[in-house]
Symmetry: none
């Protein structure tokens, strides 16, 4: 359509990415991940290895029974390996699990380096080629679109080009839609990648010629781009570069390189424009700290500290920025005198006071309050409920419907269930209530006591429910005395919103977030009545 050359993204965040140390997705997280990534136009999403562990099985079952998943733009891929040495594909448990999975695409890896055939498989070359060819054929015949991951292709190619290429040939003879050249150990140099890809592209013309690079030499992005320039048209990678050891090729870096700097067609403009947010969302799901020094999408990526740089960048942003930060949903930050974000903020304040303009001193004031709060550890991008309350407060429009006068919590963790008790004192007008609640753990007890007490005054809050609760230690190096941030998500009918609290005491941080959530329910109700 655009006349630009296309590069197809094969997203292995949920499979190879999840192999990264410290990266953890629950099955629920994975479902959320799919729902989000399916909107982006990523071409293939590798969901896991069916049959390898109960969690992956549960995930594939959930995908199979989900109506929405099939309707997205992305294809689900299942991952696995060829049959074993001496085994017929029909007898391979691995292959039969792949075949019976709900995924329309399947990727299997096989050996492309003689060292592995000899020392790991302990078989001969012909048998290796047979395993590849017949495994691919078996899956193809079963109706799957098959990709062959040529493990250690570049090491294998350096060692014996004919052998390595013959492995690709075996896969294509078996009917593979694509062959993927893997730098499995991640130690290759761009020159080696170029040679290998050129040789593969000269010998064969598969529908997809893929590259799968690891970052053990800090070269995963450079190697992937080199491969594309040498003729590869598919990239396997993960958001934020999650993955085993030093990680996989970072899609958060690769996509802007390809689409914004090198002129390829990769994903829709809306996705690229939202990349900073998307990358953060994925890190949040994986509960992995987001790398703020990350190219393009990190908070530091366009942060200018040196005075001379700041001066120049204000004269012309090209002087010290290699791309416009807004092209990837990021923003310039002037570390000395920050002035970004005002437009966004003003836009949000218009919800409550439509006539407000960017130059209104209230916008400046709100900006200062937010900056101060962020310094203390608050974050509003996942807590827009708390942000709205803060803005209403600054505009003089907030009337808190109740006051939490006091609360205490006792916990006796070895007692088993309902091991904690909280007592809460709430005042509405001149009437107070003092009510206790029991729970599993102190936060649960506090939450229950708060809701019990408030529902005396505001029965409506029983209609709302807490749909998510997250805790993050902001600076763990202070140990158990560290500040924590609690983010709570509340659902009420069709609406849902996040609220945030920050304190060294997790109970206080939780109370702040819970109170904000309940304020919104109560205020929205009275709004509904008057409006």
């Amino acid at each position: 359509m655009s006349g630009k050359k296309a590069v197809y993204i094969y997203d292995t965040t949920l499979r190879d990415g999840a192999q990264g140390e410290g990266v953890h997705f629950s099955v629920k997280d994975k479902m959320l991940y799919l729902a989000k990534i399916m909107e982006t136009g990523v071409h293939y999403i590798e969901a896991g290895w069916p049959g390898s562990n109960p969690k992956d099985d549960e995930f594939f079952n959930r995908i199979a029974s989900s109506e929405t998943i099939g309707s997205g733009m992305s294809k689900i891929a299942a991952f696995g390996s060829t049959c074993r040495v001496g085994e017929e594909p029909e007898n391979s448990e691995i292959l039969s699990n792949l075949l019976s999975s709900c995924a329309p695409a399947v990727t299997i890896f096989g050996k492309a380096w003689k060292l592995h055939v000899k020392e790991v498989l302990r078989t001969d070359h012909r048998e290796n080629w047979r395993m590849i060819r017949e495994s691919v054929r078996f899956l193809s015949a079963g109706g799957k679109e098959v990709f062959f991951d040529a493990e250690h292709f570049f090491d294998g190619f350096a060692d014996d080009p004919d052998f390595a290429l013959a492995c690709l040939e075996a896969a294509l003879e078996g009917g593979a839609t694509g062959v993927v050249l893997c730098d499995t150990n991640g130690g290759a140099f761009p020159d080696e990648i170029r040679k290998g890809v050129l040789a593969a592209g000269k010998a064969f013309v598969p529908r997809y010629l893929g590259i799968h690079a690891h970052n053990d030499g800090g070269m995963a992005v450079a190697n992937s781009l080199t491969a594309v320039q040498a003729g590869a048209n598919q990239i396997q990678g993960s958001w934020n570069g999650f993955g085993e050891r030093c990680g996989n090729a970072n899609l958060s870096t690769l996509v802007p390189w390809l689409q914004l700097k090198l002129g390829y067609q990769v994903l829709g403009a809306e996705t690229v424009n939202d990349l900073s947010h998307l990358s953060r969302y994925v890190a949040e799901l994986a509960n992995y700290p987001f790398d703020e020094k990350q190219p393009f999408v990190g908070k530091s990526a366009f942060a200018h500290k040196a005075g001379m740089h700041v001066d120049a960048v204000i004269k012309n942003h090209k002087t010290f920025e290699h791309i416009d930060p807004s092209a990837v949903g990021n923003e310039r930050r002037i570390l000395v005198s920050e002035q970004s974000g005002k437009a966004n903020l003003c836009q949000r304040m218009k919800k409550f006071q439509p006539e407000i303009t960017k130059d209104d001193p209230l916008v400046e004031k709100a900006m200062d309050r937010i900056k101060q709060a962020e310094k203390e550890g608050f974050q509003y991008d996942t807590a827009e409920g708390s942000l709205d309350l803060l803005l209403l407060d600054i505009m003089g429009l907030l009337r808190r419907p109740f006051v939490l006068e006091d609360y205490h919590v006792w916990s006796d963790p070895l007692r088993g269930e309902l091991d904690s008790v909280a007592v809460v004192k709430v005042r509405v007008g001149d009437r107070s209530e003092h009510i206790a609640g029991e729970g599993d753990g102190p936060v649960h007890a506090l939450d229950k006591a708060l809701r019990r007490t408030l529902s005396v005054f505001f029965p409506i809050i029983e209609e709302s429910e807490l749909s998510d609760y997250k805790v993050r230690v902001i600076d763990g190096s202070h140990g158990t005395g560290a500040t924590v941030r609690v983010v709570v998500e509340t659902r009420w009918g069709l609406r849902s919103w996040g609220t945030v609290g920050v304190a060294t005491n997790i109970l206080r941080a939780s109370a702040m977030a819970l109170l904000d959530a309940l304020y919104i329910v109560i205020l929205s109700q009275s709004e509904g009545k008057t409006g």
Copy 2:
């Protein structure tokens, strides 16, 4: 001596590195840094910009009065800029500060891109060349070894090669020992770097042809290596890639690439063999969290999780490692998780029982226990301390040195500091202690009470410290009643390890992780005594 081609390292960690967000060196830190780096054989160390701020001035004064500094193998360099538009070098404060500094080498930057000459300097090309030539000449005549940092050389070269090369020429006419081609905005692609370096190397033969790359495109390492292969013989970079925005070229990655993989002579073998330690030491001085996913030197760099990888790496480490981890002072780690196989586990169990084999029923039993624990929410890849305790337990080798008989926690979050109290009862043999502790928040109180009580029996635990504390809500959809996982990291002398606890009550989960951490301190001590 070795016949290998030399590459000279110019270390800008203390100057450009210190511009990185979150990187902070005190003057004392900088002195420690110099002492350490001088031992490594790094050729030039950029110490700062004399005259630009009081901290840098103090540092240069300390260097000048230090007897040891001059005796090292490295040369100190001072950083600054050319004289201003229309200014004579004799009248330049910047240049006179550089000249009077104690540094034998000086690096000044100047413009090499017409855009900057026009829009930032607002002068003409001739004046730009004069500023460069005369500034270099002034410093050279004053006895300094002078490097010229050609700012934005690659953008300037792409825009107008003749203009950019003429800037280098001006510096060489002025007597520069070296010219350094800078990718200041960090957005260049290796092909552009190659073209620029080849052109400079063809036009001139300076003593040093340097490369200064930034990581805004994730290419700083690839670009630096490409420059070396195109003829550059000096690299400016920083340890751990510290630096403005996305950082500078990472010396911790570049040095092993050059010396171990590409056959150049860079630093002494002892330095390279100690690189993991050195990189951590620098991060420690800068008070910046060490990136454990870093190539070569990170803790994850040789950490294997997938079962098949582990199996193969044990057969032959080359199968899944691009270099031998010990060559950079790092080590292989076998991570245990539900995705990994028996081989990983057995390898780990050998630490305690060297004769154990993969078929031992204890391995199967351990596997089952781990899988069960992971289903409950435990994770062992960041909690190897707890894993070791679990394995010792299964092998019948664990004797817990104490029992936590009971504990209670009270919290009054609105009280302010020390708002929580914990009481802990511990038994060792037939002696019990019942001690209270106060803290900021309930977890902190519990931690303090535990340590106070246990140190009565085991004074050694006061030598250990908590270096990190993390909480994750495992399934937030149960709201505040969700299960949480707590991971604690403990440091004791040179050792550090993670431990984990899981429960619906965050205090219970924290207690589990803290207890495991303390068991290890106590057990390691008695091991030391008997062993």
